[in-house]
């Protein structure tokens, strides 16, 4: 059993690897953030910036927010959000600014309006449809449970079957 003492050592790298694998994305995310100007005068400004960069869509890399994206356009947009935040614009003004240039598409949280009605209604519609199916199934089961007993004739037949006639 000479290799026994080594075992904990061998196990350690694996454990470390798991930890690194877990922490690495966080480290990368921080690295991305560090490249940006992120000094604010007030807490509120910082909060506004952090909220907005997660609510605006990068328009070239369409399934990322400008917070996640490495595209140059996203960097431009972050810089503009930062600048406008420092200049004292509130969140709505900054979102309006972006919408005026890039359309509603830049909002990751779409507004409730005529052309997004279906989008907003769809979860409720789907839930309704699901409830409809559920009700149908329940009703079907109940009908099965209420199926009439065997008739006299059937019972007699069963008895004969049991007796092996």
């Amino acid at each position: 059993m000479s290799h026994c003492p080594h075992q904990p050592l061998r196990r350690l790298p694996l454990w470390l690897a798991a930890l690194v694998a877990w922490l690495l994305p966080a480290g990368l995310a921080m690295a991305v953030a560090i490249g940006e100007p992120i000094e604010f005068e007030t807490e509120a400004q910082q909060r506004q910036y952090q909220t907005l960069v997660r609510e605006l869509r990068c328009t070239v890399c369409q399934s990322e927010t400008i917070h996640e994206s490495n595209a140059e356009l996203a960097a431009d947009m972050r810089r503009r959000v930062y600048q406008m935040t420092l200049d004292g614009h509130d969140g709505d003004a900054i979102v309006d600014f972006m919408v005026a240039r890039y359309g509603d598409y830049v909002r990751y949280r779409p507004p409730v309006q005529a052309n997004t009605a279906v989008l907003w209604a769809s979860p409720f519609l789907l839930a309704l449809i699901g409830a409809g199916f559920w009700w149908q199934i329940i009703r079907g089961r109940r009908q099965m449970a209420q199926r009439p007993e065997f008739t006299e004739q059937e019972r007699a037949a069963l008895k004969r079957l049991n007796r092996g006639e």
Binding site: T59, E72, L73, D76
Partner: protein, 183 residues
């Protein structure tokens, strides 16, 4: 009872149909909120002359195209012969040189020819953001009053010119003449 068995089939077919339509749609075909609005103001250096300041007024006056390009953008390079043809055909084309290096851009135009009349140098992409630029190349059509009437994200092509851009230019020029005749 038999019909009920068809419900899943119909539902799946409908879903597949929807997805198929979705496949054919271009997710980059985004409506521009700037169409119908006046050209956004900017103040930039001219590409060829750092001492000369350009504003949106330098783009305005007649029906014109505004093309957003850069030397690092290979699609823009591929698009340029078509722009040269348009320019030869008498359609003024102005440009934003977007996120580019001045020297590289000037040399490129010197060597391969320039279809552009007025070129604004936008190395930081600030004016680009005000104009709602997603990615190069992009082309706007301005009417003589400086209102954006059309925007194309991506390269122009012959078909698009024939179907959309040239008829629009004709129409806008007619509008301009009509207005001139009235005053």
């Amino acid at each position: 009872m038999k019909l009920r068995l068809l419900i899943p089939l119909v539902a799946v077919s409908a879903l597949l149909g929807l997805l198929f339509i979705g496949l054919g749609m271009n997710s980059r075909d985004l409506p521009s909120p700037l169409v119908g609005k006046p050209a956004p103001p900017f103040e930039l250096e001219a590409l060829e002359d750092a001492g000369r300041t350009l504003t949106e007024q330098d783009f305005i006056g007649e029906v014109a195209l505004v093309n957003v390009w850069a030397t690092w953008c290979s699609t823009c390079r591929a698009e340029k012969p078509l722009l040269m043809e348009l320019a030869r055909g008498g359609i003024p084309i102005h440009a934003f040189n977007y996120r580019d290096e001045r020297e590289a851009a000037v040399r490129y135009l010197d060597v391969s020819g320039s279809p552009y009349e007025v070129i604004a140098y936008d190395p930081s992409g600030d004016a680009g953001m005000d104009w709602g630029v997603y990615a190069t190349p992009e082309t706007y059509v301005l009417d003589h009053r400086g209102v954006i009437r059309y925007k194309r994200i991506g390269p122009l092509n012959r078909q698009l010119l024939l179907d959309e851009v040239l008829p629009l230019v004709e129409k806008l020029r007619a509008e301009q003449e009509q207005e001139a005749a009235q005053t």
